[in-house]
């Protein structure tokens, strides 16, 4: 049986579980033939699945819920990532020491569906993002705005961009980080989403059960063998741009985020995410309580 998986970003250890499952033959054992499509800066997984380009996608919950409200009925069928890895990383010399100092600063943010947690946090802090309180800059593909001092803070992931800043020669002592998790504004990240109508098809459901089971097996294997997982990811990288040290380190950080999850969506996490997204003041990410945006139907069967 064929399954196409659309990733949210380029091939890297962030998606180690799926590559391990494929490489180690876990998918094959379930009788699945899985194609993994890497993402990119402007590939929106939501759009890919809407166009029928994939059966299942990895996406962050804020953008999935926003899409759902736009009329694209996505359903979360599994949540391998327990905690959020997103943070704002600031240069100490810019004078930012606490969130109160953001006012009047330039902050780098990812767009394309990843801006929701940030916008939500800012509205919680009561800061306007239209340039009056903070100046927002659409961050490109790299950490240059921080290195070039074009921004006081930029968005980073604990497992990736943060280390790129360090690799560029800035010592951790010169940096201040604000993890969304610590600020109480964390939202759920990498989860697996499918189209609602597909779930009514028992054959599809069956396929997803197998897929989630194999994927979680892959994740747990990756957690236990981070270095091997990183090497597997490296082998699957077509661009030849990834390096071993970087991927091994990333795998280490990723393992921390997946650690608390067996794949099943934790309802309290979900409720917290929804609450955060709805509290966005005048311009909330979603306006009404989503219904049927998640299901345990798959994980119940897969993890029994």
């Amino acid at each position: 049986e064929d399954v196409t998986l659309q990733l949210k970003w380029v091939t890297q250890a962030q998606f180690a579980g799926y590559f391990v499952a494929k490489d180690k033959g876990f998918y094959e054992e379930e009788g699945l033939n899985v194609t993994i499509l890497p993402g990119g800066p402007d590939v929106a997984p939501t759009q890919v699945i809407a166009g029928g380009g994939a059966d299942v996608v990895v996406d962050w919950m804020p953008s999935a819920l926003a899409a759902r409200e736009k009329g694209l009925p996505l359903v979360n069928i599994a949540q391998p990532f327990k905690s959020s890895g997103m943070m704002l990383t600031c240069l100490k010399e810019s004078g930012v020491e606490s969130p109160e100092d953001f006012k009047g600063k330039t902050l780098g943010v990812w767009f394309g569906g990843n801006e929701y947690p940030f916008l939500n946090w800012m509205s919680k802090l009561g800061l306007k993002t239209d340039g009056t309180d903070v100046t927002v800059l659409k961050q490109g593909f790299n950490v240059d705005p921080l290195l070039q001092k074009q921004a006081a803070c930029i968005s980073t992931m604990t497992y990736n961009e943060y280390w790129q800043v360090i690799d560029a020669g800035i010592s951790p002592d010169d940096l201040i980080t604000f993890k969304y998790e610590d600020e109480g504004v964390a939202t759920l990240e990498d989860g697996l989403y499918v189209m609602e109508e597909n779930l009514k098809d028992p054959a599809f459901e069956e396929k997803m059960v197998k897929f989630v089971r194999a994927s979680m097996k892959g994740w747990k294997y990756a957690e236990a063998n981070p270095d091997e997982a990183a090497m597997i990811v490296l082998e699957n990288d077509e661009t030849g741009a990834q390096t071993e040290t970087h991927q091994k380190r990333m795998m280490g950080e990723i393992a921390k985020l997946t650690a608390g999850s067996n794949g099943e969506l934790d309802q309290t996490d979900y409720i917290r995410t929804v609450a955060a997204l709805m509290s966005g003041g005048s311009d909330p990410v979603i306006t009404k309580e989503p219904e049927g945006a998640w299901t345990h139907q798959i994980t119940d069967k897969a993890l029994q």
Partner: protein, 287 residues
Amino acid sequence: MRSILPVLTVIAAICGIWYLAAVRMNATWVYDQAAREGREVMLVDLVAETLTQERPVLPAPHQVVKGLWDGVAGQKITSKRSLVYHGWVTLSATLLGFAMGSVAGILLAVGIVYNRAMDLSVMPWAIASQTIPILAIAPMIIVVLNSLGVTGILPKAIISAYLSFFPVVVGMVKGLRSPDAMQLDLLRTYSATGAQTFGKLRLPSSMPYLFASLKVGVAASLVGTIVGELPTGAVAGLGSRLLSGSYYGQTVQIWAALFAAAAVAAGLVGLIGWIERATLKRMGMVR
């Protein structure tokens, strides 16, 4: 041949300016680092350090050359780190897109020349089509094509074709219309058919125009391919090298990919120029 010396001079001048600029632009970082480590920078150190940074704002020419050399000769050409491999990925999509674009362009031009309604209705929209920022919506187009089951190198090739068809249409329309009234009348006195007029007059006389626009078109189609590779999947190709270089702040990698693309462009334009000379020579149009 006689322009070799001037060209070398200009290149030398550019390199000189480039080195100076590299020192200047990379200096901030050197000073900052020194300040963080609390040491002084001498001028000699400054030059040495600005020209050997791992993530320079502007890499020095020799760093780019080394990056190119490593990319081309430093690996097996099948390796994913090889510029030859990525160059080939880009080249193949470019060639496919260019072929599609030129064929479409030529057919459209023939239609425009032979059909008044097409002439009036298509041309303004062809101009408008080129003002659509296809480059900005490339990722979307690729997704849409994917959803239609078009995958692989074809989506890139379609974007590249979209950019290359326009110069070909414009040049080819001009070329097919280049025979003067007298040359056309001559064939009418023979009662030549439309097909004969096309094959024996319009087509041959459009050749110089066609080749001129093919050169523009092939360059445009390379741009199209690279842009098609930029944001989408970043799987392989010079565009994705550019992107991943940018993603990891590897300026040397960006510049190496850029120069590799330049070499591909120069090669393609040169190749068409060569075919042009050979063809026109056979047609007796080179004196």
